[in-house]
Symmetry: C2
Subunit: 346 residues, 2 copies
DNA sequence: TTGAGGAATGGAACCGCTTCCATACCATAA
DNA sequence: TTATGGTATGGAAGCGGTTCCATTCCTCAA
């Protein structure tokens, strides 16, 4: 018997009926101790383990699963806060759903994963975080009648997304620095197109560029530093920036994680923050409060909550519209300040 | 038809057989466009959504689920790093399991959740993080033949745990401070018994006490500060500590999260770290590197990985033993240093 | 001794899908 | 016209459990 033994195998082995085995499995009181004993022995002799799927089938109230699919996460990836929003809302609303977490490590992996999810019907709804949905996949999900919602930066996609506006955020962050009197502002961020064909960095950079242009400020080529999203890499890039003959007086870093690297580079270069250099991040991670980082607040937890609420409505069969997040805002803390006169170069 | 329509309802409505409906659902090519169209219309007219459970049942290769059950998490809760260890290992080993995440918000909730998991057979294995398992539950899991493993601080429990030794960790941290010349050392941590009847804080405190005793150092009552695990609360407690007539020259804080609060309090009190006061945390979160915090490294990610590997072996039917984590070690960074002579009070 | 009632037990029916075999249908070739 | 073969389709069987009804077996009272 190479495959998993079933309840019938157990029944045969124990010399009882399948009903009795089921009763033992479910701790029904109406089983003789002796019988129970025999069944338990058969179970462990065969290494029987009930098939969870078959078990769930006859139940009136289904167990519902919600899939959350995203890139592999590190503690700095804002994902954790979004997921928390989902979980908290789930609890508050007392929704009978469990969260199944899917991490995909590449685009092909992502597409394959979606296909599997649809094929196996593993979940009843899907929250797609920081990933795009391509036409083929979208159609597949629709055909399968599987409700889904994204959390990302799309505001006008033809699929439901709780979206944030990176362009606006980049603009706001840069305006903040300009308003403080800075003129020599650098941009530090991810490569413009990441592994998942997301262009978050480019969008934030575009907002940065727009703000600079509006104020007739130029951005020397060496003030734009792009690299893989990583603390250490950001730190190195920032060190290069600070070693320039004419270093910037402020840096807009496209993520808090990278801003931490930038902060460390400033410290090592002997620069005081914000007296010598202002640094603004993007995300407003919880930890950023403790690091006292000025940053762009993008309602991470709220985005998870909103996505969940929308999905729940759809699942209930209600007509739902994707809610809009409140506007982005700057969380002012200690890493940005007015340009210091003694340091001003022009 | 109040309950969910089934594939038979769809078939009847579309005037086709159930096989055809199934074929449409599964994108089989051998369906006439006209037929497909009719079926799709019936599907959306009825609001039909395939039952994921029933769908999964007939498949040869089951979808396997691993449950991860833990307390609700914040970004500082070391849980995230543990979960990452699990996910990474899962990917590396190419294991066909998905992770189902359960957050429980109280002890009764936890017990009920376990019962539900067993009853519904929702998962094939369970990783229990930072929660104890009581006799009744343990028996229940065993009866159900549901393999489980814990990640926590138990080293000699009668159930498999990847355990860490808090007592040892507290001792090490304190020794580190004593070796640097500190004599007036405070303890800042959680209440001794938390919501889940875990006594992590007490264990670490006991290690602290032992180290102090071994060196004939006394701990004044006001040097022991306990409070709910929270940045803000820790910050307030630390502020009280620094406002004492004779403040400590070093603080052992039982978690990095609380250590961040302590650091902030020191900053606000105008104390330089480590010149005026040394601070050591516990956990070694990723972020702690960036904050340059000296702390106790407890192999968080590795613990997730080990628990997973063990569970996978058990699921394969192999005889497995729970692996031991490598010894705890101090990660020395910038927040601890020798006691500064100018400040020494005795 | 007999009948009634309760408890343990066996197993058919069923949960909602997929799969596969048999059938019906159509087009083409002879 | 008939034979052939390929394709779309219907629906029975089956996935591995739970549930419930019928049956058997006891025990106890009359």
């Amino acid at each position: 018997m190479p495959s998993q033994p079933t309840i019938r195998d157990v029944a045969k082995k124990a010399g009882v009926g399948i009903g009795t085995v089921s009763r033992v499995l479910n701790n029904s009181p109406k089983v003789t101790p002796a019988t129970r004993q025999a069944v338990l022995e058969a179970i462990s002799a065969l290494g029987f383990r009930p098939n969870s799927v078959a078990r769930a089938l006859p139940r009136k109230s289904r167990i519902h699963n919600l899939g959350v699919i995203t890139q592999p996460f590190t503690s700095f990836y804002p994902f954790a806060q979004r997921l928390r929003g989902v979980q908290f809302a789930l609890r508050e609303l007392d929704a009978e759903y469990e969260v199944v977490l899917y991490n995909v490590s590449s685009l092909p992996h992502y597409e394959e994963r979606l296909r599997t999810i649809v094929r196996t019907g593993a979940v009843d709804g899907l929250i797609i975080i920081d990933l795009d949905l391509f036409d083929e996949q979208k159609q597949m999900l629709r055909d399968a009648n599987l409700p889904f919602v994204g959390i990302n930066h799309f505001q006008d996609r033809d699929w439901p997304c709780v979206g944030t506006n990176n362009y606006e955020g980049g603009y706001l962050a840069t305006r903040h620095l300009i308003d403080l009197g800075h003129r020599d502002i650098a941009y530090l961020g991810d490569l413009f197109v990441d592994l998942y064909e997301f262009n978050t960095s480019y969008e934030r950079y575009s907002g940065f560029q727009r703000a600079m242009r509006e104020h007739n400020l130029s951005v020397p080529e060496e003030y734009v530093r792009l690299g893989f999203h990583d603390y250490q890499i950001a730190k190195e890039q920032a060190a290069d920036l600070f070693a320039l003959p004419k270093p910037p007086t402020a840096v807009f870093v496209m993520s808090d994680n990278q801003a931490f690297g930038c902060l460390a580079a400033a410290r090592e270069a002997g620069l005081r923050v914000p007296q010598d250099v202002s640094i603004i991040g993007y995300d407003d991670l919880e930890i950023s409060l403790h690091v006292n980082l000025t940053t762009v607040h993008q309602h991470l937890e709220l985005s998870g909550r909103m996505a969940l609420e929308y999905l729940l409505q759809v699942l209930k069969g209600e007509d739902a519209v994707v809610p809009s997040l409140p506007p982005l805002e700057i969380t002012r803390r200690g890493t940005t300040g007015p340009v210091s006169p003694g340091r001003k170069k022009r």
